[in-house]
Amino acid sequence: MNRAPTSATTELMFLRLVADSFTRRPRRKVLTAAALSLGMAVVTAALSVSLDVGDRLASEFRSLGANLIVTPQADSLPLEIGGVDYRPVNAGAYLPEADLPKIKTVFWHNNIVAFAPVLQTTVKTARWNRETQELENPAEAVLIGTWVGHGVKLSDGGVFTTGIDRTNSWWTVDGHWFVDGRRECVVGVKAAARLNLRPGDEVSVNVEDPSKMVQLFTPLTVTGILSTGGDEDNAIVTSLDQTQKISRLSGVYRTLYISALTKPEDEFGRRDPATMKPAEVERWMCTPYISSIAASIKEVLPGTDVRVIRRVAEGEGTILTRVRALLWMVTLAALLAAALAVGASSAASVIERRTEIGLMKALGAGSGTVGFLLAAEQLLLAFVGGGIGYSLGIVLARLVGQRIFGIAPAPSMLVLVAVLVLAAGVTLLGSAIPMRRASRYEPAPILRGE
């Protein structure tokens, strides 16, 4: 009966052989698949966390506070020692508060996490004694006007809430912050001790007006005690509009602090855009380097100096680059280990099938057919194992992300593709060497058991 096998029966036989090898020795296949899944789970978790961690850490670094400072270009030289500006009251230039919403119109507006304008002045303080109807305890203090939880109306109709509580997250208030529009303030720890103030007390402040005979004091209710660990501990902090009224400087501020998410500067980012070719300038503008964000802010706020607070920006850049590199290295090591273990286990699964291969060859299968059959099996295993590993890894990455940052990394299709490709590559590579040897087997000695 010399019937040439039709292609349909060959295919059927092929599928049957593959299915048979899975059902006949399920435990071994399960073990190989388990090795594969675990390996790929490591890879998935490590890749997901590494992809995500840069952004997460970058936003953690914003707890360092502002990395950009905006001052008037025409400003005179600040004479600031220990947080007190020794300039005469009317010296220096100011910036218009009305321009501030424009900051959220720049190209990088989504990267601008928070900003806070500051107007600072030296004031005379006193306390109003209700019984004697007189001002007591005259002293001097620094008055800082700024925003806290201030809603900025944007041109697109939205409201962006920002303020010094968002830029300087290390500022803590015992009590509560002042409210915009009310005559309230918080007092720095040291100033509170010096001026003997407690929450609920009232402090009257005044910026001397030489044109008036009678000096008007503005009473402010203390709503909390501020602790910053900086010079602000010695100051009274109130809302920007109150400070403007008290210092009779309406609608202006002097310094603006901006906290922006950035990409650490590399060689390219440090170059001066003036020396770049047009294509390079475009690339520079389209990368959130701190310097390109500064340049775009300067464009919308004319007459300002936008400076990078190097201490914050450089420190952040160094550490972020290091940590990112560290995690990629860990990921790489995990990848390597997983690949080797998976490769080893698929190699083992081919080695053990010497007799089977011998039998197939004795029955007339060519080396090509045998190789193809084994490769198909391995690939099937790789996709199943890779898929299971991916889902395991995603769960793991979620756990890690949730524990550390409180936010789980989003599952990424890129990782899935990478994992499946890696799984297929590693299993094929792992079984390639034993398969090559298998193709050279002589069936007779194997079947004889030699």
């Binding site: 953690e60 005179s76 600040p78 201490r311 940590v323 860990v330 090591a333 998976v342």
Partner: protein, 393 residues
Amino acid sequence: MGAPGAQNRQMFWRIVRRLLTANRGRLFVILLALGAGAAVTSALLNLQVDAKRRITTEFRAFGPNVLVLPKNTSLSDSGTLPETIAHSVPANLPSGRVVVTSHLYFVAAVSAPESGKSIAAVVAGTNPVIFVKASLLPAPPRADTPTALPPSTRRECVVGAKVARLLNAQQDAQLALTIGDRRETCQIAGFLQIGGPEDDRVQIGLRAAQRLADLPGRISSLELIVPGKPSEIQTYITELQHELPDADVRPIRQFTDAQTKIYGRISGILNFTIGTVLVLTALCVMAAMTNVAMERRNDVGLMKAIGGATRRVLRLFLAEAALLGLAGGVMGAAAGIFLSVWLGKQVFGVAAQPRLIVYPVAVALTMIVAILSAYPLRRLAGVRPASVFRGEA
């Protein structure tokens, strides 16, 4: 009948040797899996110890994190401290050296004879003076490599960018600083634009500043860069405050708070990833090993057929697994040394110091994994020789 025990032992090791060398392909595969696991284990354990220490030193990039100020400063009079206070600051910590700089701040008239301009500016007397050339910016003044000027050879000053702009001052030009009838001159060594108050100041040597302000031996503040973990810095501050009761020692919370937070996150990530990678690597190796062990049915069947007791057969395989674990572990740990040195170089630019304790731990872990992987062989105890030889599964 003198030494059946010795003979037995001899036979035991002979069989183990045969088991190991019978199939070189398989031996290679097992060693590869175990070695890879051991290499990654030792490299990651090493990196985990090393990386945390290095990350804390990276936080130095933020500059000073602790201030020492005069106590009870009122608003108008900022007060001063004796200069000698710098000597009572402990400089060596287990986590590294504390960098101490002394500062004296005051306002003086600054004039540039070449441009004929004059302004009032804050002068900072600094010891040691950290010189940063304008061209080097935006690299921050690295606190660990201060280029101190030998005192009284040349008088140099570093001028904030804003001061320089207002004075129209050029590199190497002369500046005159005056307070009343006291006068000092200096040569501009460089400009500073770092987005801080330094941009509005002139920095000169502490001695010249003290002469100019007529405050010999006095300083306004000490700035310290304290290395170490957040908890170590806090302990240092408490101890220093205890030692300097006349001064106010305080952390610059902007940086210490952020450091606490960020350090916590980073070490959390490292612990988690390294932990999961280690556990899963062990599981991977185990699965690969188990697969290999399963094919030993025939050997077990034969041994039992010629009278091997189940216990002895098992012991044989466990010895084989332990030997494999040892060999794979040692080879892997050796590779791990190179891997961790390379990783350290890639990440921190400095080779990670190999911690010797890590390697025995990695080898031991590998052996445990190898022996545990042989555990499924217990099932082989139930193998019936006859059915194996009949070719039944």
